[in-house]
Structures are given as C-alpha cells and as structure tokens.
C-alpha cells in the first residue's frame, strides 16, 4: 500500500476545508443555542444572526432573496422536498404528471418512482449520446396535467451540463414549474436564478469542501410547495427541525472560498486528464459532453476490462476513483446513466469516473493517468475480450 493516498472521487464527497471547520467550531462550542429562541437570551440571538447571515450569503450566491433559500439536511432531502412538495401542493389543483430525465441522480429518480406508486404519471425523458435533453422532446412531453419538470443542472457521473436556460424557457412558456438538481454545479458552474427561469434548485455543501449533512433548496417566491417535514415552524414553516447552524455557517463559508481561479485550475486538470487518457490508452471512449461538462469531471470507458478490477488496482496504488460497473455497486446494476446515453453493458462496466477537487494537483493527475495506463494494459492482457473480440466460437 502506498503511503500517500490521492483522493479523486470529489463528486461523492470532499475533504472539508480547514477554514470551513474553523468557521463552524464556535457554533458547536460557544453558540450552540437554538436559533428560534431569539427573544430569550444572547446565545439564541447570536445563533439566529449566524443562521441569517449564512442564508443571506448562500441566497446571494444564487442570485436569490434570502427568504427564498431553505436549509435542508443535504441534496437528497432538497430534491425529495421539491418533487414531493410540489406534487402534494398541485395534484388536486392541476394534475399528476411529472417529467424527469432518465439520467437523474437517485433522489430525483426515486422520488419520481415513489410518486408513481402513489398514482402520479411520470415521463422519463430520453437523452442523447452526450446526455443532453432535447428541448423539442421536452416540449412534446408536457401536457396540461404536467405540474413539474425536474432536470438536473449537471450529471453526477458523466458531468454533462444541461441547457437549463432553454429547459426553463420551455417550462415558462408552458406554465410548468421547473426544478433543477444543482448538487454538482453549485460553486463550479454559474447559476443565477435572477437570469435563469428556474423555480426550485437543489444545492449541497458536501461537493465543495463543506460539511455533509447540510444542503439547501431555492424556492422562487410564490412557488406552491407543501410542507412534508412536520414538527416546528422553522425555515419559513416549510421544513421543521432544529436548525443545523454549524452546518449552515460551514456551507456559506465553503461557497465563499471557491474562486474563479480554482475552477479554472480544475478545468485545466480535467482537460489534461481527458486528453492524455484518450491519446495514450487505446480503445477508450469519453462519456459525457466534451465541452458542456463539469470543470472537475472525467468519465471514460475502457473496453475489454471491468471497472471494479480497475478501481481495486488503482486503490492498491493509492488512488481513489469510482466506476459505473455493476460489480462495484451494492445493487449489482451497471450505471443507469451509461445505459441512458445508449452505452452497452461493457461500456458501463468499464467506466471510470475521476472527479477533481481543491486538494488535487496536476502531479496527481499525471500520476493517476500513468498508473491507469499500466493497470489497463495488465488487465487487457488477461482479458478474453479484445484479442478475440466477441462471439468467438469455443
């Protein structure tokens, strides 16, 4: 086992930035009171101020008003809240039809499926080979019973960034609410709700060197949304539960720490990794759009080899990456995203995702590509595929 471990799975989770931890610490140790007791004592007032400040700062980062930003426990809860909240609010008034893309992340997909079991109709939109939704197809899918369109800002696996301005415009034209899961773009790809016609936006801190267990949902003023987490009156009476003040403060700090320079550097590392792999390793294919892509996402399929074997070899050499292979997942299912863009089993099983973060360097990228080239070469040597190709008679 190598001494230094290089983490390249930053879309799954990220290392917390020390400055975030520093900003959070006082809210664990000193100002730990409940924010709602602002009329009671000093600590409560300080807690309330910290929460409000974090909310203002996060709302500002999205171009929103602070009353339009609700804290949640993370992106899973935010997306559940958006889909189920709108469904509950509009099913009687307008209809029971929801549209999502086929390649959404599980919080959106599973929420849609859960609603389907309760009698809602769900359209799962096809995407093209790069993972993009066709606006014409979307337009045709919308009916007078459609209450919500939920299409992600960028894909969790292949990094393709959707044209949410175009999607939002279609939804506006048809008078349908639009939710976008921006878990992987918040901080990394510009997203301003003043300019973009979106009604609900899911964001989270764990992908940007913030703490996990905190996320948010942007809710445009006037958007009908039923409360489904019952209890107290927190978060404008939309989401009950004791406020996670250290989390909120950490989330705001994490966003504040992202710079244009950093995103540029991520993009440079991403481009370097993609072009080196495609050039130096034969029989590989890039998954996702080449340019409409998250600045920190690399996803490549290697023919004739299986992803779990690749990740395990890389792990032995000290690199942490992820794969869309069935063997890697607890469900023994290949990546629904790779199948969604028309990939076959072999492409799903042989896909490797490298996601970069603040603590990665160009040296890390070169090191992982060098090792990857060796690992793929060795695994192909022992693979019955490739040399014989498919279907050789035995």
């Amino acid at each position: 086992m190598q001494e230094k471990r290089i983490y390249l799975d930053n879309s799954a989770s990220t290392r917390l930035d020390e400055r975030v931890l520093e900003a959070m610490t006082p809210y664990f140790l000193d100002t730990y009171a409940v924010a709602t007791s602002e009329f009671a004592y000093t600590q409560g007032i300080e807690a309330r101020e910290a929460l409000d400040e974090a909310r203002v700062s996060l709302a500002k980062a999205l171009g929103a008003e602070s009353e339009e930003f609700v804290f949640t426990s993370g992106s899973t809860e935010s997306s559940n809240m958006a889909l189920k909240g709108v469904a509950l609010a509009l099913s009687e008034k307008k209809g029971k039809h929801i549209i999502v893309s086929k390649i959404e992340d599980f919080p959106v997909l599973q929420s849609a499926e859960a609603l389907e079991r309760q009698g809602f109709q769900v359209t799962y939109l096809e995407v093209d080979v790069d993972g993009l939704v066709d606006l014409e197809v979307l337009k045709k899918a919308i009916t007078d019973k459609t209450i919500l369109v939920s299409i992600q800002h960028a894909n969790q696996e292949i990094g393709t960034v959707q044209d949410i301005a175009g999607i939002g415009a279609v939804c506006r034209e048809k008078d349908v609410l639009f939710h976008t899961d921006a878990t992987h773009t918040f901080g990394r790809v510009p997203l301003n709700v003043k300019r973009l016609p979106v009604d609900l936006v899911t964001v989270a801190a764990h992908t940007i060197h913030g703490p996990r267990g905190i996320g948010g949902l942007y809710i445009r003023k006037g958007t009908p949304l039923a409360k489904w987490m019952d209890g107290g009156f927190q978060e404008f009476d939309l989401r009950a539960g004791l406020e996670n003040i250290p989390g909120a403060v950490g989330f705001a700090k994490a966003v504040e720490l992202i710079t244009v320079e950093e995103n540029k550097q991520l993009r440079a590392m991403r481009n370097h990794a993609i072009s080196r792999i495609l050039k130096e390793i034969p029989d590989t294919v890039l998954n996702g759009h080449r340019s409409k892509r998250l600045p920190h996402n690399v996803n490549i399929s290697f023919h004739y080899v299986e992803g779990e074997s690749i990740t395990l070899h890389l792990d032995i050499h000290g690199f942490a990456v992820s794969t869309g292979s069935a063997c890697f997942s607890r469900s023994l299912q290949g990546s629904h995203v790779i199948y969604g863009i028309g990939g076959d089993h072999e492409r799903a099983h042989g896909s490797i995702r490298i996601t970069l973060g603040r603590y990665n360097t160009m040296e890390d990228v070169d090191a992982v590509v060098d090792t990857l080239a060796d690992v793929i070469r060795e695994l192909r040597k022992i693979s019955p595929l490739g040399k014989n190709k498919y279907g050789e008679e035995v």
Binding site: E306, S309, L332, H345, E346, K381, I382, S383, P384, V394
Partner: protein, 211 residues
Amino acid sequence: MKFPYSETVLEHFKNPHNVGKIDNPDGKSMEGSPACGDMVAVYIKVEPKTKTIEDIKFESYGCASNIATGSIITELAKGKTLDEAKKITWKQASDALGGLPKIKAHCSVLAIEGLRAAITNYEEKHGLVKKRVPTTVETIRKRLRKVMNPLAGLDLVRTNLVKDIQKNNGTVRVAIDLPRNHQFAPAIKEEIDEKIEPLWDVKEVIVDFTD
C-alpha cells in the same frame, strides 16, 4: 484497514497464476458475458492416456473475485484427472482463497463453470459424452440454482424466488416471486436467459415477475 477481500484473494488478483491462452488447446470454454459483468475463458491440455490436465490457462473479464477464482481453480485443477477436476467445487475454491464475499459468489462460480465446460468440451470432442438428453423441469431447476438472488447472495431456488417452472415443447416459463419493477428484476431475467437458452432443445425463455 478491512477490505472485503481476503489477503489471498488480493494476492491472486494482483498476480494471477496461469493467465493466458493455450495454442491448440484440447478443451476450451467461454462462460458468462459482458452483460452479467463477468466472463471467463478456460483452456486445457489433456494427457490422453491418463486423462490428466497437463496444462491449464484462463482469461478473465471481470472483478477481483472472478480473477482470483480463475487463478485458484487453475492451480487446483493442474495435474488432476478430468474426473477429479470436475468435482472441484466453488466451496473448495472459496476456502482456498480464504473466503469470498457472498454478494460476489456468482462472479466466482463462473470460473468453476468455465473449468467444467472446458472439460465437457474435451469430452464432447473425444466422444466421451453420452447422447443428448431432453431438458426436464429438473434440469431447469438445477440451472436456476446457479442464478444468484443478489438480495441474499444465494441462488434463486434456495431463496424460494422460483415459484413455478413450465416446459412446453421449446418454451420455458419461469415464474419469479419479485415485482416486475424491482431493482434486480432485469439482472435476474438476463441471467436466467443466459443459463436456460443454451439448452439444446430450448427455443424461448419467458420470465414472469409479479405485478
């Protein structure tokens, strides 16, 4: 740190034994498919008088447990007679590897099947196999014992997921006690197709799930 794999599995995964191809093998097989995520090819050289496996090699497209099992069964089979080698079980391979995770059982069973299929291939080529017998419900049940129920890491029959098996001329109908929209339904159907379709007198396989 605790890996899901034993030290021995990792050793065989890192440095698999008997890897590659044998030119003009006396018997060979290719089991699995990219669809189920694993494939294994086995090649054998047989000493004709003693019917001993003189040389054996394997190739693998698969995860660590598939590669490691391929490596260990080739070690176990080398020097054995065909009859002895046929009797090598998944349990023996798993024990020799210091245990395998349950959920990975099907990846490693494949290597055993590969070895047995290579032996059958040799026997067929050398006129050692009896006449083709018609497929019965029992043959089908036996084959379904090799299809994993990923929920339990055990096969479909043992976990009582097979509700009914019918064979009508060339059509086989298997009823599985899982809802059609269950996350494992497509994978299970695919594996059933793969196990039953190759039977010489089966033309069509229909898998029924519950609503």
